[in-house]
Amino acid sequence: MATQPLICSNADCSLASDRKCVEGYEIGECPHAGRISIDDIPEAEEPETVVTQPELPIALASGEALNRDRASILQRRRVSRSIGLIGPNDSGKTSLIAGIYDLLQERPLSGVAFAGSSTLLGFEKVCHLARAASRRNVPHTERTSRGADATFFHFDLYQEELGLTSLFIGDRSGEDYLAATDQISQANQFFEIRRADCVTLLVNGAQLADSGLRHEVRAAAPQMVDALIEARAIRAGCRLAIVLTKKDSVVASQHAERVQKDFDGLVKSISASHAGYLGEVKPFVVAASPKDCERVARGEGVGDLLLFWLRANLPTVALGNGTPPNFERMIDLFTHERSEN
C-alpha cells in the first residue's frame, strides 16, 4: 500500500519535507497534519455565465409618414403622382390629407378606391382629433411642426380604367412656405414641391370670409406662388390646383358671395400671371373636415380634387412664352442624391 504524502495546513510547518511537526505533536496527534493548506487550494475560477440574449424581434415598417428617401423608393414601384400642398398655417393642409383618408374609410371616392398605404399609422394620428374616439366635441387637426423636413403621406389607389396609381402628398408647415415669401432662398429646401406633379395652393375660406383677414389672404396666396415660381421650386408645366378650404365656414358666414368673388379673382390673377409657366390651373372648393356637417357634407369637393391630382401631366415640350421647361429640377423626381440645401 502506497504511503500518503504528509501535508500540513500550517504554512510554517515543514512536515512534508522533514516529517517533523513544527508545534511538536506526534504526526498522528497533530490537528493540522493531513489537512490542505489554504494556499494549496486553487482559486476557484468564476464559471463563465452564458447569458442568453432574447431574440430580437423583426422590425416592421413604421407606418408613419415617409421621409424623402423612403418616398423615393416607393415612387419607383409603380405609376405615381406627387402632390405639393402649399398654404399658410391653418389653411387646412393636414385636414385635407386626413379628410381624403377618412372618406376612403367609407367607400371609394369619385370612383377611386383604396388599394393600400405605407402610412396607415401616420394617417390614423392626423385623423384622431376629428374622430369620435378622441371624445372631443369639435373636430380639430394637429398643426404640422415648423422647421421640420417635409414628409409624405402615401396611398395606392385603384381606378377601373387606369389601374393602380401611387399618390404621395407632401406635408410641411405652412409657416415654412410663408417664410419663402420673405426670403426666396428658403424655397430651395422644398424638395416636395420640386417633385410635385401637381402643386395645390390652399386658401383658407374661413379667413377669406373674415373682413379683418380677407385682404391679407388675397395678397399672401399669390405671393406664395410667385415666390416658388421665382425660385423655380415649382417646375415649369406643373399643374396648379387652387383650393378654397373650409367651405362650411364660408357657407355659414354672411359673406359667402363675396368670398366666392374674391376667390375667383385670386384664381384669375394667378392664372394670368403664370399662364406661360404653369400647366393647367384649376379651382376647387372643399370641406374636408367641416366643423358642422348640416349645410355642407363632410368631404364635399374632395373627390374632384383627388381626380385632378391623379391625372397625368401633359408633356411640356413648348411653353407659351418660349421659356424652356426647367429640366434641371426634374432630376429630383428620379434621384434623391442631389444636394438641395
Binding site: 423583426i58 422590425a59 393600400g116 374622430r131 378622441s134 356637417c293
Partner: protein
C-alpha cells in the same frame, strides 16, 4: 391533393380563432357528419389541446383566452371525399401577437414560419368591428336628438383606437412585404359570430363591403396578390356560457338540445348555408 399542408389562422384578439379550431376538431371527428374534409387518422401528435377545446365547445362553454404569446401547434390529418390525404397544421396564435404588429411595429421571429404559410384563414369578429366615427357627425346627431354633448376628458391618440379595418389592412399588407412576402397566397376571410350579424340580411360579401369597406377596397384592388374568398361563420351558433362567471343561459340550453353538436355551426357562402366548417379549408387546399 396530398401530403402536408400548412395554413395559419390569423386574427385580432377575440376574433374567434380558438372557437373555430374547437368546432373544426369536433366536426371532423363527429361520426356521421358529412364534410368536405373529414378525419383520417390519429398520429403520434399530441391532441390534448384540441380535445380540450372541443370538449369545452361541446359543453357550450366559452373558450379560455389563448395564452398571451407564443403558438400552440395543431395538426389534423384529414382526407377529402376522394380519399386523398392531407395533414393540415396550423398554430393557434394569440390575437395579441397580431395586435402587437400594428401597435409596436415588430414581429417575434418565432412567428415567421407561421406567417409565411401559403394559405391563411383570417377571422374577423363580425360583432365587434370598430368602425370609424367622426366628431362632426356625432355632434350633429346630438343636436338632432336635443341632448347635451358629453363632458368627458378628451382622449389622446393611441394605436389601439384605430378602426378594425385599418388594423386588418395593415396586417395583410405586412404579410405581403419584407420577410413575410412569399408572393401569391390564398386567404379565407371568415366573418365570425355570424349569428350576431345575420339579422342584417346581408351576404358575407355585402357585410365586408358595408362594415369593412377599406378592407374590401384593398382586397378588390388586387395590389397585393391575394386570392381570397369570404364566408360568414358561426362556430358556436349562439351564446356560450362563461364557466368562471357561473353563467347559465336558456339560449345555450337550446343549442345543447340540438340533435348533433355540429348542428350549431353555420357556414355561409353567398346565399348558401351549411354546417360544414371544413369548406374554407378545402378551398384553401384545392
Amino acid at each position: 391533393m396530398s401530403g402536408e399542408f400548412h395554413l395559419s389562422i390569423v386574427g385580432l384578439p377575440s376574433s374567434g380563432k380558438t372557437t373555430f379550431l374547437a368546432a373544426l376538431w369536433h366536426m371532423v371527428r363527429e361520426h356521421g357528419s358529412t364534410t368536405a374534409l373529414s378525419f383520417d387518422s390519429l398520429s403520434q401528435d399530441n391532441y390534448e389541446h384540441l380535445n380540450a377545446l372541443a370538449k369545452r365547445w361541446r359543453f357550450g362553454k366559452i373558450q379560455q383566452r389563448t395564452q398571451v404569446s407564443g403558438a400552440k401547434d395543431v395538426t389534423m390529418r384529414l382526407k377529402d371525399v376522394a380519399g386523398q390525404k392531407v395533414a393540415v397544421s396550423f398554430p393557434d396564435l394569440p390575437g395579441e401577437d397580431f395586435a402587437r404588429m400594428w401597435e409596436r411595429r415588430e414581429l417575434e421571429k418565432s412567428m415567421l414560419e407561421t406567417l409565411t404559410a401559403p394559405a391563411l384563414v383570417l377571422l374577423v369578429n363580425g360583432d365587434t368591428i370598430r368602425m370609424p366615427d367622426w366628431v362632426v357627425e356625432r355632434m350633429a346627431l346630438t343636436k338632432k336628438m336635443r341632448t347635451e354633448p358629453s363632458k368627458v376628458e378628451p382622449e389622446d391618440w393611441s394605436a389601439d383606437l384605430a378602426p378594425t379595418q385599418v388594423k386588418l389592412v395593415d396586417l395583410l399588407q405586412m404579410l405581403m412585404s419584407g420577410d413575410l412576402d412569399i408572393g401569391e397566397r390564398r386567404l379565407a376571410l371568415l366573418i365570425s359570430a355570424w349569428d350576431k350579424v345575420e339579422g342584417e340580411k346581408q351576404t358575407p360579401v355585402e357585410i365586408l363591403a358595408s362594415k369593412l369597406p377599406l378592407l374590401d377596397q384593398y382586397l378588390r384592388s388586387g395590389r397585393d396578390p391575394w386570392t381570397w374568398h369570404v364566408w360568414g361563420v358561426s362556430a358556436q351558433g349562439g351564446v356560450y356560457e362563461d364557466p368562471e362567471k357561473q353563467e347559465s343561459f336558456p339560449e345555450t340550453d337550446k343549442l345543447r338540445e340540438l340533435e348533433r353538436a355540429s348542428d350549431r355551426i353555420k357556414v355561409v357562402d353567398g346565399n348558401a348555408i351549411s354546417s360544414d366548417i371544413t369548406q374554407p379549408l378545402k378551398w384553401l387546399i384545392d
